[in-house]
């Protein structure tokens, strides 16, 4: 085999795939743009501070017991204090006797970013005119006018004291102008809910602060003890990591395999293949094409995993990266890619157009999708007998073994290298079979072959 010629073919294959506008836009620019847009969107969302809403809130308190409490809590100073307290809880990470529920977190976030709504309240009492108050929401007022009615809160009569014939309490409804900022209406809603809850505790003779203290449990999280020190364990990342690694492998293998098939079919249908065969042996052509597309796959993997690694380092999660993953990922990619690529090359050489390749591609697609789906249970039980067995059965083996390596219980090194050995042998066999089909298929035109014909060609060649 003439290595110079193989390199020339590989270089052309790589350039004709990876240096095209379609590839650069589809595979590189789009993810890069998304990568830039995501933080930008986050920045814009965070910087869109809620407007300092100014206006009135009418409280129609049918219960006659919550109105005043709520009015006090909706006062600008009280809202600011509540937000500060919530932020204090959030930043210290240790609750000071009150549970940081989701409304607190939301309040803390908006307190950090925006001004507290400047609300004046009027409590209308149990017989208050709800229709009149709601009509005031329709009045025309300039934005920022303190007389502008922003919201009407209607508290049910049994909101804090159960009706004798009922098992549950009543509640409340907030009516607003359509243009009121959702964060302001959210603040009114959360404050109302807390006012009702606290009033219920008081009526029941329970100290609200004591309840919060009792229901709040401080957690130091899960800490991993390693030789290098104790560190926080990231459960979500641990679950996602094996799946992400397999997704990366799948994407690399699938994309470059598809490109290989496409360029092969193009060369065949444009009849350039016979010109090439006058200069190259079928093996040199196939090897060059497989190598060229390997470069394409590696480019994708390096780029995407590079972005992933940068993100992990940026968010201080680099301790989730394992050196073994970085070493074994390219090895298993190479093996998985060789298997799939030789299959694709054989199919590409056998058919006349892409349409005909669909049915023949089914086995490769089934293997890839099966490997992708199985990675989830394998990552949960990486050392179950079936998971161990799968990591030695080609062509699923590279996927299963890499999932196990990326899991929380990596397999012993001898299993990894045994899997590499078995899978490499299988890849070699597949290249050998593909080369036979390739040699016969390249100059076959006319009726598209089926699997039976391909087997016949293997025997023929």
């Amino acid at each position: 085999m003439n290595i110079l010629k193989v390199t020339d073919v590989a270089r052309r294959e790589f350039a004709s795939t990876a240096l095209t506008k379609g590839f650069i836009i589809g595979a590189l620019v789009v993810p890069a743009v998304f990568g830039c847009i995501m933080p930008l969107i986050g920045f814009l969302v965070n910087s869109a501070k809620p407007p300092a809403e100014v206006g009135r809130v009418a409280i129609v308190d049918r219960s006659g017991q919550v109105g005043e409490v709520l009015a006090e809590r909706l006062a600008p100073d009280a809202l600011a204090a509540a937000r500060e307290k919530a932020m204090g809880n959030l930043t210290s990470g240790a609750p000071d006797g009150s549970a940081p529920d989701t409304s607190d977190v939301a309040a803390a976030a908006s307190a950090m970013l925006g001004q507290v709504p400047q609300l004046t309240t009027e409590v209308l009492g149990p017989d208050g005119d709800i229709d009149g108050a709601k009509n005031a929401l329709l009045d025309v007022h300039a934005k920022g006018d303190p007389e502008r009615m922003l919201a009407v809160v209607e508290i049910d009569a049994d909101a804090v004291q159960r009706a004798p014939d009922k098992t549950s309490f009543g509640g409340y409804t907030v009516f607003t102008r359509p243009e009121v900022d959702v964060r302001t209406s959210g603040t009114i809603e959360d404050t109302t809910e807390r006012a009702i809850r606290d009033t219920r505790y008081t009526i029941a003779g329970i100290n609200a602060d004591e309840i919060r203290a009792l229901t709040s449990v401080r957690s130091g999280g899960v800490q991993e003890v390693t030789a290098a020190g104790t560190r926080e364990s990231n459960k979500a990342l641990k679950m996602i990591m094996p799946f992400a690694v397999i997704m990366l492998l799948f994407m690399g293998v699938m994309t470059s395999g598809q490109y290989l098939l496409t360029t092969m079919v193009e060369e065949k249908s444009s009849r350039v293949v016979e010109v090439l065969l006058s200069a190259l042996s079928p093996m040199e052509l196939m090897a060059g094409k497989i190598l060229g597309q390997l470069g394409v796959g590696l480019t994708l993997i390096v780029m995407y995993s590079g972005v992933g690694i940068v993100a992990l380092v940026y968010f201080g999660l680099s301790n989730e990266l394992k050196v073994t993953q970085l070493i074994y990922m390219p090895i298993f990619f190479l093996i998985a890619y060789t298997m799939i690529a030789s299959f694709m090359a054989a199919i590409g050489s056998a058919v006349n157009e892409l349409r005909e390749a669909q049915s023949l591609m089914a086995p490769a697609m089934i293997v890839l999708i099966l490997a992708l789906y199985l990675s989830f249970p394998v990552s949960l039980s990486p050392n179950a007998p079936w998971a161990v067995a799968m990591s030695f059965i080609p062509p699923v083996s590279p996927f299963a073994m890499l999932t196990r390596i990326a899991s929380s219980e990596p397999p012993p090194w001898w299993q990894i290298w045994a899997s590499i050995g078995v899978s490499s042998f299988a890849a070699w066999v597949m290249v050998w079979v593909a080369a036979k089909i390739f040699r016969v298929g390249l100059l076959m035109f006319g009726k598209p072959p089926n699997l039976g014909t391909l087997i016949k060609w293997v025997r023929m060649a």
Partner: protein, 333 residues
């Protein structure tokens, strides 16, 4: 080639071909479409491998070992549509073992020679079929091979480019290169070749120098064209009964009197011209087409069969471009 045989399934494409092409010769493979020319050429190129028999190319056991010394223009030729012409030719040159700065210069020189200097930076898909064919020809001579194999090189070319390509092939031959080219248009072979190999139904039916073929197939037909149809009729009556006249037929509006072997044509010509006023009379030398028909059909073949075969040969020529890619299952022969 010694006893080379190639089958595709049940179809025998090439049967027992023995062939030796001397160095420096210009040899034409002729025969109708489907005769087995391309299969033979593909086996010479080691793109296909014979079922039985042996072959050696440039002193080696197979062309694989000397691919860089061979320039090949296949019948089913193509280009990378999205590649620029200059880049495509440099790529082909590199694959053929040519390299270095000299390669780019040679590509430019060749493009200028075939009047394509201005398409260097155009994509191949932007070229006409004829232009692409010239580019492909450059691709097979760029590395200055010892052996040129051209499968149907003239198909799809206009007369001007046909002449240009013919001159370039002659030039390669005069430079000492061995040239093998195949065609089903026998006139092209007559104009260019030293040596003719005829293939029919996968078998070699003729393998001789062109001069020897002409000598062997002496002129045995007189073509007479009267000033009108009635004149042709009278001339036919005058010679039909002569013992040296084997048959009298109408060929393309002319009267053709075929003579028996060894007959003197002078008596027949005199009889024709005295029987009717003539526009033209000639002693017709057999063309390769005539010789092919004679060999394939044998001297006993009837006139209808000859006419049918001649029509088939000409139809092949007209419909050649259609025949591309219509090889059915198996390799186009």
């Amino acid at each position: 080639m010694k006893g080379v045989r190639k089958t595709f399934g049940k179809k025998v494409a090439v049967e027992g071909i023995d062939l030796a092409v001397p160095e420096g010769e210009l040899v034409g493979f002729i025969g109708p479409n489907g005769a087995g020319k391309s299969t033979t050429i593909r086996m010479i190129m080691s793109i296909l491998f014979p079922d039985t028999g042996e072959l050696s190319v440039l002193g080696r056991k197979s062309a694989v070992e000397s691919k860089d010394r061979i320039g090949y223009l296949p019948e089913e030729r193509g280009v990378y549509k999205k590649m620029k012409v200059g880049a495509f030719l440099r790529y082909m040159g590199r694959l053929k073992g040519a390299s270095g700065a000299g390669l780019a210069k040679r590509v430019d020189e060749w493009l200028e020679r075939v009047e394509l200097g201005d398409v260097r930076n155009k994509k191949c898909e932007e070229l006409s079929k004829g232009m692409q064919q010239k580019v492909q020809f450059i691709g097979c001579v760029l590395h200055e091979p010892d052996l040129l194999i051209l499968d149907e090189p003239f198909s799809g070319l206009d007369p001007v480019n046909m002449r240009l390509l013919r001159d370039l092939i002659r030039e390669q031959h005069e430079a000492g290169r061995t040239v093998i080219f195949s065609t089903h248009v026998m006139v092209q072979a007559e104009q260019l070749c030293d040596h003719i190999v005829m293939i029919h139904n996968g078998r070699k039916v003729l393998d001789d120098p062109l001069g020897a073929i002409r000598t062997r197939h002496e002129a045995r037909a007189i073509r007479f064209e009267g000033i009108d149809g009635a004149a042709n009729g009278r001339a036919a009556e005058a010679v039909a009964a002569m013992p040296e006249v084997e048959s009298v037929t109408n060929v393309d509006g002319q009267l053709e009197a075929r003579l028996v072997a060894g007959a003197d044509p002078a008596r027949t010509i005199a009889a024709m011209t005295s029987a009717a006023p003539m526009a033209r009379v000639e002693l017709h030398r057999p063309t390769l087409e005539d010789i092919f028909i004679e060999i394939v059909q044998g001297s006993a073949a009837d006139d209808d069969e000859r006419a049918r075969l001649r029509a088939q040969l000409r139809a092949d020529g007209a419909g050649h471009s259609r025949a591309h890619g219509a090889a059915g299952e198996g390799v186009g022969a």
